[in-house]
Subunit: 257 residues, 2 copies
């Protein structure tokens, strides 16, 4: 019996952002356990598999983590090929590592398959370069989710010189804003709030650190959404007719080429 | 005439980590311009396309950026479907945004396709959870490349509480080490150095901040490689019989489940 569990990233929503390896895993699957945030369209690759929804959104824990663990273990021990399908990348705020370790401790073979994480896809779809020569030499992905009790040093995040991408932050906009302001980030730092990254229903709201909470309210921003905070979040401003409070960045001159 | 350029991430090396969208772009391509760091195995998806190598490694600029721009423009204006294939993700240290803007200013339709970036794939293949509840609430991707003249605040990066993933750092290990130590990072902070992420020839060297330069030398670490710095880089220590200097982290107890 194969006794294998694949922990697979389904990407940010666009079913075409699935990797070939994820498709192979789905084709081999006997059982697919699918998270809430996964686009069900990807199930076209596993028409014969048994599909189990194990949704678990922040706030309402419809399927406890321990139950998901035991379910994976039970099917793997029956010799079934199990695919656990997660939104984005299983290792970016996805507990992929924890689940892999728990299964391996029980002698189950595990294979992790990376996916495109929503923060990167959302920014790309909004023409935001998270890293941009001369502007942002890096990018920091963090979660605002409070169930994670590890320490975040907001002052350091405010001053690191990287673009900030915040996941699961919609319910905490006021808190995030205050922490970043307290950390020394400028009031007019550009902010892009991107709902349903990479999906046809993707929406983006451009704002700045001062106005982000009000603007999100007017925009009726809903989860799942990511926040992109930093100079690069304004770089498409020229094309989009943004309010004057958002200053477009100087971009590399094409004349120089 | 279609006059379209796809800026496509080919992923970290494993040809199976290509997305379905990247495969579609390759199938439609008349011309494929391929970077040095892309695994040529992915060209199986474009058997009829004209393939042009436009390699450009850090240090030796074999194909100037301006030449690449003009080449894309020329083929697009001929009505050809052009795919510019980049290692990893075109928007993470890949100049995807710059190239897209330059082309759009010349009325060329551009579509960006995300790819799995090497830092995420390398960590996953080494069973490192870049984000891990209770240990690292985020991850910061930065480049050590000096052609980028934007500011990095190493003190802030040292203290942000996120896992650090450094690209293009092999030639600068001493400098990185010193900056992080000066920034207040602990001497025994675990470091994983991962060469050829996701490829069959992937190699990993586990070390810590104090010893990383010496260990990389003994290991004969070569580019391309990524550095993962932070508590999570030691989490596989138990399985791997690491030197005693690397202390394994306490991981969430499975007994609690």
């Amino acid at each position: 019996m194969s006794a294998k569990v694949w922990l697979v990233g389904a990407g940010p929503g666009d079913p075409e952002l699935l990797t070939l390896k994820a498709v192979r895993a789905l084709r081999e699957a006997d059982v697919v356990m699918i998270d809430d945030l996964v686009n069900p369209a990807v199930l076209e690759h596993c028409p014969r598999a048994r599909v189990i929804a194990v949704g678990k959104r922040g706030g309402c824990r419809s399927t406890p983590q321990a139950f998901i663990h035991r379910l994976m273990l039970r099917y793997a021990r029956q010799g079934k090929c199990v695919v656990r399908l997660k939104g984005g990348d299983p290792c970016i705020f996805g507990r992929g590592g924890e689940e892999a370790q728990w299964l391996r401790e029980r002698q189950i073979e595990v294979e992790l398959v990376n996916g495109i994480t929503a923060g990167l896809a959302g920014a790309t779809q909004c023409d935001i370069s998270l890293t941009l020569r001369g502007v942002a030499r890096g990018v920091t992905l963090v979660t605002a989710h409070t169930q994670d009790d590890s320490e975040l040093n907001w002052r350091a995040l405010s001053q690191g010189g990287t673009t900030l991408v915040i996941y699961m932050g919609v319910a905490k906009l006021g808190e995030i804003r205050q922490q970043l302001l307290d950390g020394g980030m400028a009031l007019d730092t550009p902010v892009a709030m991107i709902e349903n990254a990479s999906m046809p229903c993707q929406r983006e709201c451009r704002s700045n650190l001062t106005a982000m909470q009000e603007d999100a309210y007017s925009f009726q921003l809903k989860s799942p959404a990511i926040l992109v905070i930093g100079a690069v979040a304004a770089s498409a401003a020229l094309q989009q007719g943004l309010p004057a409070s958002v200053t477009p960045l100087p971009l590399p001159s094409s004349a120089a080429l």
